[in-house]
């Protein structure tokens, strides 16, 4: 590695330590992997089932995040919302809230005796806990903030100059949004979506608390991993490898677009 003149050795050393700290657990996981029996482990019904539930839940959550999060990010970045700082704090709260607390809060809100949930059951005969839809709700709750702050950050750094020019040339607000704002935002939306999807895929605490744990319905890969740790640690490692591989497959192609584009 060549050392650029602006990189002090001490900074490089600390950065290398930090890299090692992040990489070590992943390497340790790979080292414990039951490589010889891996194919058989991965063909097991419960593994295939959990992968299916995970993909269904995390992709659906990502779709909802896109639909709900894009307007939210635009409003936060462009509209003079009253108490904007407070609103933004509430938006990012699920990122720092322990997921188990998030799941409990979801139960109080959307459970069948919850604030809104009791009416969902009474009027529409819909109960979310213990259903795949409930797992999607839990995943969306924890993933949405990742998308919103990524896209909002990109909107802020890209500025409003082009949009104002388009408006003075006679474009109505929706045309500006459609022709100027959204096309310039696509890289950030992709990055935000990848982050949100990865968060949804790895979601554990809110899911087991709000949606429960049933194979084929709500048992996602992280729940199956937790379950396997109790009885079959080798299967748990195999399941972790599946999560790792799926995550890398999605995150690697977006690696150049991590940060909001300038």
């Amino acid at each position: 590695m060549t050392r650029p003149p602006n990189a002090p050795r001490s900074v490089l050393v600390v950065a290398a330590l930090a890299m090692a700290f992040l990489a070590l657990p992943v390497l340790a996981l790979l080292q414990r992997a039951p490589w010889s029996g891996l194919v058989d482990l991965l063909r097991r019904r419960e593994v295939v089932q959990a992968l299916g539930v995970s993909l269904l839940v995390s992709l659906t959550a990502a779709g909802i995040v896109l639909v709900l999060g894009t307007p939210m990010a635009w409003v936060l970045a462009r509209v003079a919302v009253p108490f904007r700082r407070l609103v933004r704090t509430l938006v990012v709260l699920p990122m720092v809230l322990p997921p188990v607390v998030g799941g409990t809060a979801l139960l109080f809100a959307l459970g069948r005796r919850g604030l809104v949930g009791q009416w969902l059951e009474r009027w529409f005969d819909v109960t979310l806990p213990f259903t795949t839809a409930g797992a999607v709700v839990a995943a969306t709750f924890v993933a949405l903030p990742f998308y919103v702050i990524t896209v909002e950050g990109a909107l802020r750094t890209s500025g409003e100059d082009l949009e104002q020019v388009a408006a003075t040339l006679g474009a109505d607000p929706l045309t500006v949004l459609r022709r100027i704002t959204v096309p310039r935002l696509i890289p950030a939306m992709g990055a935000g979506l990848a982050l949100a999807w990865a968060r949804a895929l790895g979601e554990f605490g809110a899911t087991i608390t709000f949606a429960g744990n049933l194979p084929g319905r709500t048992r996602t890969l992280p729940l199956a991993t937790f379950q396997a740790l109790e009885s079959d640690p080798e299967a748990a490692v195999a399941l972790s490898l599946v999560l790792l591989a799926v995550s890398l497959a999605v995150l690697l192609p977006t690696r150049h677009r991590w940060l909001p584009t300038r």
Binding site: L107, G111, R112, R113, T127, P129, F130, I208, A211, G212, N213, L214, T218, R219, F226, Q227, E230, S231
Partner: protein, 253 residues
């Protein structure tokens, strides 16, 4: 010194147990660390209070899933005694010679292990706010039924007793099933008899007689200083406390 098993002490014990493989220090003579199955949380607090008042030994309790606690013990967590809901786990630990075998010489026939500390039965429970149910409701797929997961003692016992059921969620502990019922998110849950009598929000789903397959708790001393406490667990006073909490104890040894 802690005068009471405070949350700080439990936190310390948990922290210690998390990274303690290299810790070989002798445990403090005046404080015991006791790992207990989560279904024993309340009765263990009473038992250790009683022990503290007679022996002067302060006990720090760490409650958790039997299987998780056993894994911590295997990894070298500094527990002086272990009260488990899974006798198989306990046999496994014993085979690994983690149960202190050398202590019979130091005291007169002090048992280092009790294989049948007490029995707890499974009960199909409902929220008190819900209607009373019938045994056939257990197999009604339109009702929300929760049970413990396989590998958790209450889950294995439920599977042995009821076989395949239309379960809607497999929970990580009996306490999690209790919470589902207490929040009225489930119609039926398979829990311990002691949980039903301890929680106002739970009732038996229908009148049930104690039936096995059931749970047999076992206790083991894991250090010299844990021996007197484990011996105390066979005393009449300890059995009274267990019985008061709804656990079934065998004939006097």
């Amino acid at each position: 010194m802690w005068t009471h098993p405070s949350s700080g002490a439990i936190l310390l014990a948990v922290v210690a147990s998390m990274g303690a493989t290299g810790c070989t220090e002798a445990p403090d003579d005046t404080a015991l660390t006791v790992f207990v199955a989560s279904s024993l949380t309340e009765v263990a607090a009473d038992l250790t209070d009683e022990w503290a008042s007679t022996s002067g030994v302060v006990v720090e309790l760490v409650a958790g899933g039997s299987n998780h606690l056993a894994a911590q013990v295997r990894d070298g967590a500094p527990a002086d005694a272990f009260l488990t809901a899974d006798a198989d786990l306990f046999d496994d630990l014993e085979r690994r010679l983690l149960v202190n075998q050398a202590t019979d010489q130091t005291a007169d026939h002090v048992p280092t292990a009790i294989h049948d500390l007490a029995i707890n039965h499974l009960v199909v429970a409902r929220p008190t706010t819900g209607p009373e149910r019938r045994p056939a409701d257990l197999r009604d797929p339109s009702l929300v039924l929760v049970a413990c997961a396989a590998g958790v003692p209450c889950g294995d016992a439920a599977a042995a007793r009821f076989g395949d059921l239309p379960v809607d969620s497999f929970e990580p502990s009996a306490r999690a099933v209790v919470a589902r019922l207490a929040l009225d998110e489930a119609d039926l849950g398979i829990v311990y008899a002691t949980d039903v009598s301890a929680h106002a929000g739970l009732a038996p789903a229908w009148p049930q007689k104690p039936t096995c397959p059931c749970i047999t708790y076992a206790a083991a001393s894991l250090s010299l200083s844990g021996n007197p406490f484990v011996a105390f667990l066979t005393s009449d006073r300890a059995r009274q406390i267990l019985t008061k909490h709804g656990f079934v104890t065998g004939p006097t040894r």
